[in-house]
């Protein structure tokens, strides 16, 4: 069968993935380097009778997708650093009210307006802790155009399964780089549809009462069940409550429903290369992972015992998996384009944090193969 092959940039692959996953509604605001996502969706969504709206700001875009999601639609917004900062309050609302949505952040340099046209991976910890209060979050990334497509689909599946916002943390290089994308036939990649309540009309529906398996079946706004949605701590009817038992129970639920599944599929996604007997393990993600993979492949061919873990899910972090995989390595090296954000999680995961080193760049340029080589030579006692 003839394959449907495209030559597209990462932002377009994200659009293709979202449409494949069944995106119905997009609200956004222009911002470099993510704008192509909204440009393409403004053209594509009306064709499939979906809704596209350019809102007055980043906050409004986030709010609009939450409203649309409540009517039963699959929703997404896309932004970059400054816009991601603005979305944080509404993101917390989606967490608290348990409303599925996908938020793309094509990272650029920060803080503030920073370096809009250059690459960075500086929002990793913001994705984890950006909105206030204790919470769990799912944040995913990718290093190839094909992976952007597939991770985007998984983001929708996870959002719908766990009733949570999912953050797609791409970066400027991977967003703008062009590469081959093979579009699978519809139905080839399984899609998750929202779990809807089977409670009949006229019977009391409890929108925030967990089933035995911890899931909360939803009812679309506009359908028979009328209920309250709020960002306040709330009881099983969605009615605001300050009762300590309810506050404690809800906060635990919001965290447990994600972190309990941190090390299993579909939330946990990573790739591993040459880990068997590896004395040095590199850990990376996003566009940095491309330079790492190139380095590791070449050194393997030269007989070095060097392995690589590419993280695709950044949060929740799979602490036990990383601990186990790195147990026998002499050095663990985290490669990322920030001052050392993911490395903190890696240090927390491994038994001896002293064996964890950082290779980074914070000047708006991609980490090169020679950047990695220089550090490896130092670690191997070969000088620079």
């Amino acid at each position: 069968m003839k394959q449907n092959i495209k030559f597209v940039q990462g932002n377009e692959a994200c659009v293709e993935g979202a449409l494949y996953a069944g995106l119905d509604f997009f609200a956004g605001y222009p911002i470099t380097p993510s704008t192509e996502i909204m440009e393409h969706l403004s053209e594509r969504l009306p064709i499939k009778k979906g809704k596209f709206i350019q809102m007055e700001d980043e906050i409004a875009s986030m709010c609009a997708i939450i409203g649309a999601s409540l009517t039963g639609k699959k929703v997404m917004t896309a932004t970059s650093g400054p816009g991601f900062s603005l979305k944080q309050e509404a993101l917390g609302y989606a967490i608290m009210a348990e409303i599925p949505c996908v938020v793309v952040n094509v990272q650029r340099g920060g803080p503030s307006t920073g370096n809009p046209t250059h690459v960075s991976q500086g929002d990793v910890n913001q994705a984890r802790w950006g909105t206030h209060g204790d919470h769990a979050i799912v944040a995913m990334t990718a290093s190839t155009i094909q992976d952007i497509f597939e991770v985007t689909i998984q983001a929708f599946n996870i959002a719908e399964t766990y009733r949570t916002p999912v953050i797609l943390l791409f970066d400027e290089i991977i967003g703008h780089m062009r590469e081959k994308l093979i579009l699978p036939e519809p139905g080839k990649i399984p899609l998750v549809e929202r779990l809807r309540t089977s409670v009949k009309s006229g019977i009391d529906y409890h929108p925030y009462l967990q089933r035995e398996d911890g899931r909360l079946p939803m009812s679309d706004f506009g359908e028979q069940h009328r209920y309250n949605v709020t960002g306040l701590f709330h009881d099983m009817w969605g009615f605001p409550s300050t009762k300590p038992k309810i506050v404690h129970g809800l906060l635990r639920h919001l965290n447990d429903k994600i972190t309990n599944y941190a090390e299993t599929k579909p939330i946990c996604m990573y790739k591993e290369f040459y880990l068997e007997g590896a004395e040095i393990i590199l850990i990376s993600y996003g566009s940095s992972a491309r330079s790492v993979l190139h380095t590791v492949k070449n050194r393997q061919a030269a007989g070095e015992k060097i392995g690589f873990i590419e993280l695709q899910t950044l949060w929740p972090f799979p602490y036990n998996i990383i601990k186990k995989k790195c147990a026998n390595a002499r050095h663990v090296i985290v490669v990322e384009m920030n001052m050392g954000q993911m490395i903190r999680a890696v240090k927390n995961a491994v038994e001896d944090p002293k064996k964890v080193f950082l290779i980074n760049r914070i000047d708006g340029l991609l980490i090169t193969v020679s950047d990695i080589r220089n550090i490896l030579r130092m670690l191997q006692g070969k000088g620079v």
């Binding site: 009778k49 700001d57 997708i65 409203g67 929703v75 309050e89 506009g222 209920y227 306040l232 605001p240």
Partner: protein, 272 residues
């Protein structure tokens, strides 16, 4: 359906202070919905944060109590997604016009079919009586112990200039007028704005020599007049009540349907 059937009794008693005007707005709103005979399951009420915003919880419709100032942005998402639903967005004056001012003018500009109700009590009540963009010069508040020096918005003029296709003002003293105005606003196809003066005796009244709810209601009675009335001509200082704007304009969701047709090359000549 009796208006009481629109109430969600489970969520009572309400949180408002004795004498607060917001309960009167709740009654006026439900009377209007009852008059229009709208099915509960077709109503989505969206609110932000503040005393006023708690109003949604007490109504047995789909209710969305969101974050401060952003109710209209959430409502836009709901409406564009399900245009057949009736959207009512009650907000406070600070909620709608300070933190939410940008969303307000843009919702007016889009002329998306929903009703924004601004319960104007001229103060931030829930946080304890700070001055709002609707307090006006010379008013006292917990953050204006020497009186405010800030000018207030004229909501009707702001809404009109921003492109709203229905704009009206009324007060909690004028209940029948409030119900009729809300009926017109909800029926109107396009973005409708109804400003309702609502009393906050607890904070605004107490600090501004209008200590009892009755003092405040009398203030609304004595300081307002119908648009173009004799009273207004005699005393130009009076605040006008009534419908300022009521016009037909292209509605956002209907225009969006045309975009869908354009994208699929199915637009007919009469729709162009």
């Amino acid at each position: 359906m009796a208006f009481k059937d629109y109430i969600r009794e489970r969520f009572f008693p309400h949180i408002w202070c004795p004498g607060c005007g917001h309960g009167m707005v709740l009654k006026g709103m439900l009377k209007a919905v009852e008059k229009l005979g709208i099915n509960k399951s077709n109503i989505v009420m969206v609110s932000g944060i503040g005393c006023s915003s708690r109003i949604t919880g007490y109504v047995d419709s789909h209710t969305l109590h969101t974050i401060h100032g952003r109710a209209l942005a959430f409502a836009t998402g709901v409406k564009l997604s399900r245009p057949e639903l009736c959207l009512i967005v009650p907000m406070g004056d600070g909620d709608a016009l300070a933190i939410g001012g940008n969303h307000f003018i843009h919702a007016c500009r889009r002329n998306i079919n929903m009703t924004a109700i601004i319960m104007n009590n001229q103060i931030y009540g829930m946080t304890g009586g700070q001055y709002s963009p609707l307090s006006g010069v010379g008013k006292y508040a917990s953050t204006a112990p020497y009186s405010t020096i800030e000018n207030k918005f004229d909501i009707a003029k702001l809404a009109e200039a921003s492109g709203a296709s229905f704009v009206a003002r009324t007060t909690t003293y004028h209940m029948r007028e409030m119900i009729d105005t809300l009926c017109m606003a909800i029926k109107h196809k396009g973005f409708s704005v109804v400003e309702i003066f609502s009393q906050c005796p607890t904070y605004f009244g107490r600090k501004n020599k209008l200590k009892t709810p009755a003092d405040m209601l009398n203030y609304f009675k004595n300081n307002t007049a119908k648009i173009g009335s004799e009273a207004k001509k005699k005393n130009p200082e009076l605040i006008e009540r009534g419908v300022f704007i009521n016009k037909k304009m292209p509605e956002y969701c209907e225009e969006y349907d045309k975009i869908i047709k354009k994208a699929n090359n199915t637009l007919t000549n009469t729709e162009v």
